[in-house]
Amino acid sequence: MVRRASAQRPHSKNANITCQHITALILDYVTGELNAETALAFKAHLRKCPDCIAFLSTYQKTVQAARSLRYESIPLQMRRRVRQFLRERIKVPPP
């Protein structure tokens, strides 16, 4: 049976932390929000688990790629159309 990533976390001290736990904790890890004990367990797991190192790396690359998206400014013609629309709708007198 296959299990999906859930927010399940280990209850006892660092015990039996699995790849599934690591995956659930990645968001807090990358923003430095894990408590000290969990962060230590996280790093200890990474030291012995190349799969989780690879997973974490691809997660970080994904976030970087999303953050690299660039968007254009509002096109001049659209800006003019919206301003005209607003003037008509709210009865703004032309300058």
Binding site: H21, V30, G32, L56, A65, S68, Y71, I74, V82, L86
Partner: protein, 215 residues
């Protein structure tokens, strides 16, 4: 190992701080029905409203309608703005809600099963597919920047509206989880859960596009 870090960008910049008095006066004038003041507000904020709306909506035609709707709402609702937050915060929350409302009404053309792109695990908690391949460095080697950005935009379009809003506001707009929660009426844990799921989905889509398992 390098961390992404929480490079949250504040809503208001230093310039906003210094001009907050001017802004307060401007808002008072808009509340009093001063059209010139409204035009000033429009000029100052239309570009950011457009960019934020475009990130959420994904096409120009609908984004134009959202921008119109946002500024009409500003004109109509500005009297309810009590100055408890920066005007820019109020405005970008308004933009989020107008855009999100439109996304919710939109018929989703293809139903994508998010789970198909999320990681899977064996009973013992190990990754289902091992070894996990580190394809991170292949992204820029195998995909043109334009192609990569197109893949991400398409993946964003496939997310449920609230998940999309969360990841856009967080990773594209740099808004804090607390602010996102307040904008979308979600608890911070709920914001983080949706953000994590959306990132895992994007990760899965990128993995598949490179020929690897999302797991």
């Amino acid at each position: 190992m390098g961390q992404i870090g929480s490079t949250q960008l504040p809503y208001s910049t230093a310039r906003d701080q210094t001009s907050s008095d001017e802004e307060r006066v401007l808002i008072q004038r808009v509340k009093a029905g001063d059209h010139e003041a409204f035009e000033t507000i429009f000029r100052q904020h239309v570009s950011r409203v457009y960019r934020q709306a475009f990130k959420l909506i994904g096409n120009e035609a609908e984004t134009e309608e959202v921008v119109q709707e946002v500024f009409l709402a500003v004109h109509k609702k500005v009297k309810t703005f009590r100055g408890e937050s920066a005007f820019s915060t109020w405005l970008y929350r308004l933009t989020t809600n107008v855009a999100l409302s439109r996304l919710r009404k939109r018929k989703r053309t293809k139903e994508v099963l998010l789970d198909d792109y999320l990681p899977r695990f064996q009973e013992d908690g190990h990754h289902e597919v091992r070894p996990v391949f580190n394809w991170g460095n292949e992204l820029h080697l195998r995909l043109e920047k334009k192609e990569l950005h197109q893949l991400i935009r398409e993946a964003l379009e496939e997310l449920p509206p609230v998940d999309k809003a969360v990841i856009v506001l967080s990773d594209l707009e740099g808004i804090s989880n607390r602010e996102i929660g307040e904008s979308l009426a979600l608890s911070i844990p709920a914001v983080k859960a949706r953000l994590h799921r959306a990132r895992l989905f994007l990760r899965g889509k990128l993995a598949v596009s490179l020929g690897y398992s999302p797991s």
